[in-house]
Symmetry: C2
Subunit: 381 residues, 2 copies
C-alpha cells in the first residue's frame, strides 16, 4: 500500500476529499449530455478563476503540455519571441518556442528575482510576435509582479503575451482580462487542488487572430478545433480524461464557494507564516524579498546540509513531502508548496517537522520560536 | 447525480471496480520512489501487452495525442508518408502527418474494408519515410488484418510503420516485435478497460534512429526526453496524471492475470455473438465479413430508422450507451464497443435492449432468436 503523505510539494498537492471522491462518478460518453453539462460548468467556473469573459479550454495533458499548446498555436517558424529567463520553467517555455522554430531572444534575469518592465523594454519593439512570461517560476519561488506592466509594454509594441501561470492561478491575483494576458495557462494539480493531468488555457481575441493565421498549428493541441468543439457542442475534440474532469469540476465549485479574494488572502497569510517561520528557524528564503511567491516557498538549505537528506527525514519520519531544487540551484534549495489545501494546520505540521528534521541533522532550530512566528501571521484563523 | 450506464461505447468503456478504485490511492510525488515503482511496473506489464521487449512509454493525453506524438517525433517537414484511408481515424492520422509538414500520399480504400499489402504496394517505394496504418478503425469497425504483410512490404522498402492501435490493443492479436511495428500507439480507455486520459506508445530501434535524427520534434511529446527520464529514473518528463497511472497499473495487472490469449479469445467470442445476434435481428454489419473487428461492432441502421433515435431509447429506457456513426457514414450506422469488460452478461444485455428498442421503433426484431444466436457463440462461458 502507498502511504498517505501530507503533500507539501509545489504540485502535485493535497487534494480535498470532496474533489478526490468526484473521480469515482460513473464513466459517461464524452459525446453525451452529461459530459456537455459538465464541461460547460467547468468552463463557466474556470472563467471566474481566470477573471476573463473570453474562452477558457481544458486539455488532457500536464501544465507543460498547456504551455507547449499555447506556444505551438501562436508561434510560426521565424517569429521573434522575447523570453525573460529566471528559472527552469522560463527555460522550458523558451525551449518550447525554439522547437516551434521561433527566433527566441532570451533575456537573462537574476535567479531569485523576476523581470521588470524596464529590464525588458530594450528587447521589446515592433516585430516581436510574443513575450513569453512565467508568472510564478516554481523552480525559484518568485512571482513576476510586474506582469501587468509587461503586458502593457508588449501591447504598446504590438506583441502578444503568453503567460505560464501553472503554479499560481487560483492562489494569487491574476486578472487575465484586466491585465491583458493573451494566453494564460494553468495546471489542475497546483492552486486548484485537483489531481494532475489537465491544463486550462485562456485565449484573448488578439491571440485568436494569430492562431487563425497559423495553419501549421499542432494537431492534438489545435486550439481552433478545441474552440469549435466547445462552441458547437460543449465537447472536447478528443477523448477527455473524464475522472479528472469530474475532479476539476468539484475543485472549481469549491473555489467559487470560497471566492477568489478569500482564497488569495488565505494563500498570502499562509505564505507570510512560512516565511516568518523560516526566518525564525535561522533559514533564508531563496528569492529576494520583493519577488517572493505566495504559492511556492523556496528556501536555501543551510551550509553543510544536503536538501535530499532533509527531505528524506521529513518524508520518512513525518510523512511530509517537500521538493528539492531544480536546474542550476538543484543542490542549494528545497521548496514547499503553499497551494490549494493550505491552512494553519498544514503550515504548523510542516514547520514542526522541518524544525525537528533540522535538529536531527545537527542544525539548531527553535521549533517553538518558528511556530510562534507562524502563528502571529496566521492570527486566529 | 450522473446515472451509472452500461458503457458499450467503442471507448470510453466500462471500467472494472478494481481499476476504478485504484484511482483513490494517495497522491504521491512524481519524483519519488512510489511513483518510480509504479511506472516501472506499468512499463513492464505494458511490454507484455504490446508483445515487445523494446520501450513502451506512457503519456498524459488521449489516444489521438499518442498518434500525434508518434507522427511528430518521426516525421520531418517534406518527408513522404503513405496513408491508406478507410475511416475517420485514418483521415486523422494523415492530417496529423500533414500538420508536421509531411508530403502525405493518401491511398483511398473502400470504407468497410481495410488495406491489403497488394493495394499499398504501388505506393510504397524507396524514399517513403513511413507508412501510417490504423490497425482497427473505430469509425467503421474494421481490422486491418494484413498489417503484418504491410509491415514486411514497408521494411523491404526502408519505410517505418506507425500504427494506431488505439481501439484494439489488448483485445485482439497484435505482435509489435514479431510483426515489426516501429511505433504502436494505444489509449487507456479502450481494450485495456481503464478510464481515458493516457496513451501508451512503443518505439522500435529503427524508429529511435529516425527520432534521434529529428531535432524539430515536439516539446511536450518529445520521446527522447521521455526515454531519458524513464531510463535514468523511471519517471516521466512532466507531471503525469497520477490517479490514471494507478488505474492503468491495476488494469495491466488484470490483463496479465487473464493472459493475452484468453483475453483475445474472450473478445473474439463476444464479437461472434454480437455479429450472430445482429444477423438474427435482421440487421447487417457495416464491414465486409473478412475485415470485421472483434472490438468495435459497426451495424447498419435499417432503412427509415434514425441511429440517434435508436441510441436515445437504448440509453433512456435501458441505460445502455452505444455510439453513433462518424464522418461520412455518420447517419448510416451505430457502433457497439466489444472491449475490456466484455462477457456474456454485456452481450445479452445489449442485444436484449437493442431488440426491444427496435420493436419500440416499429421494426420487427426477434429478441429470442437473437439471444439464442448469441448464446450459441458464447457457449457455456
Amino acid at each position: 500500500m502507498v502511504r498517505q503523505f501530507l503533500v507539501m510539494l509545489p504540485g502535485p498537492t493535497n487534494v480535498p476529499e470532496r474533489v478526490y471522491r468526484a473521480m469515482m462518478r460513473p464513466i459517461i460518453s464524452h459525446r453525451g449530455p452529461e459530459f456537455r453539462e459538465l464541461y460547460a460548468r467547468i468552463v463557466e467556473n474556470a472563467r471566474y478563476a481566470f477573471q476573463t469573459s473570453g474562452h477558457v479550454l481544458v486539455l488532457t495533458c500536464s501544465g507543460t503540455g498547456g504551455v507547449d499548446c499555447a506556444v505551438g498555436n501562436v508561434i510560426k517558424p521565424g517569429d521573434k519571441v522575447v523570453a525573460p529567463i529566471f528559472g527552469v520553467f522560463s527555460e522550458r517555455m523558451a525551449e518550447a518556442a525554439r522547437r516551434r522554430g521561433a527566433d527566441v531572444v532570451e533575456v537573462p534575469i537574476r535567479w531569485g528575482s523576476a523581470p521588470t518592465a524596464s529590464e525588458l523594454e530594450p528587447f521589446i519593439s515592433e516585430g516581436v510576435k510574443a513575450v513569453c512570461v512565467v508568472y510564478n517560476d516554481t523552480s525559484t519561488g518568485v512571482t513576476a509582479r510586474e506582469l501587468p506592466k509587461i503586458c502593457e509594454l508588449a501591447h504598446e509594441n504590438g506583441a502578444l503575451v503568453i503567460v505560464d501561470a501553472v503554479s499560481i492561478l487560483g492562489g494569487d491575483e491574476l486578472k487575465v482580462d484586466r491585465w491583458g494576458i493573451d494566453i494564460c495557462v494553468t495546471g489542475s494539480q497546483k492552486c486548484l487542488a485537483c489531481p494532475p493531468g489537465l491544463a486550462l488555457i485562456s485565449v484573448s481575441e488578439e491571440a485568436w487572430k494569430a492562431i487563425e493565421d497559423n495553419p501549421g498549428r499542432p494537431f492534438y493541441f489545435d486550439l481552433i478545433r478545441a474552440r469549435e468543439f466547445y462552441e458547437e457542442r460543449r465537447e472536447t475534440p478528443f477523448t477527455p480524461a473524464i475522472p479528472l474532469f469530474y475532479a476539476l469540476d468539484e475543485a472549481l465549485l469549491m473555489l467559487r464557494e470560497e471566492g477568489l479574494e478569500a482564497r488569495f488572502e488565505r494563500h498570502a497569510r499562509c505564505a507570510r507564516a512560512f516565511y516568518s517561520a523560516i526566518e525564525a528557524l535561522g533559514l533564508e528564503a531563496f528569492p529576494e524579498p520583493e519577488w517572493r511567491s505566495n504559492t511556492v516557498i523556496a528556501v536555501r538549505t543551510p551550509d553543510g546540509l544536503s536538501p535530499s537528506e532533509l527531505r528524506r527525514i521529513m518524508r520518512e519520519r513525518f510523512g511530509i513531502l517537500v521538493a528539492g531544487g531544480m536546474g542550476k540551484i538543484r543542490d542549494e534549495i528545497f521548496r514547499i508548496g503553499c497551494m490549494g489545501v493550505i491552512s494553519a494546520r498544514e503550515v504548523f505540521l510542516t514547520v514542526s517537522a522541518l524544525a525537528a528534521s533540522l535538529n536531527e541533522l545537527g542544525h539548531e532550530a527553535d521549533a517553538g520560536e518558528a511556530l510562534r512566528a507562524a502563528g502571529r501571521e496566521l492570527g486566529s484563523s
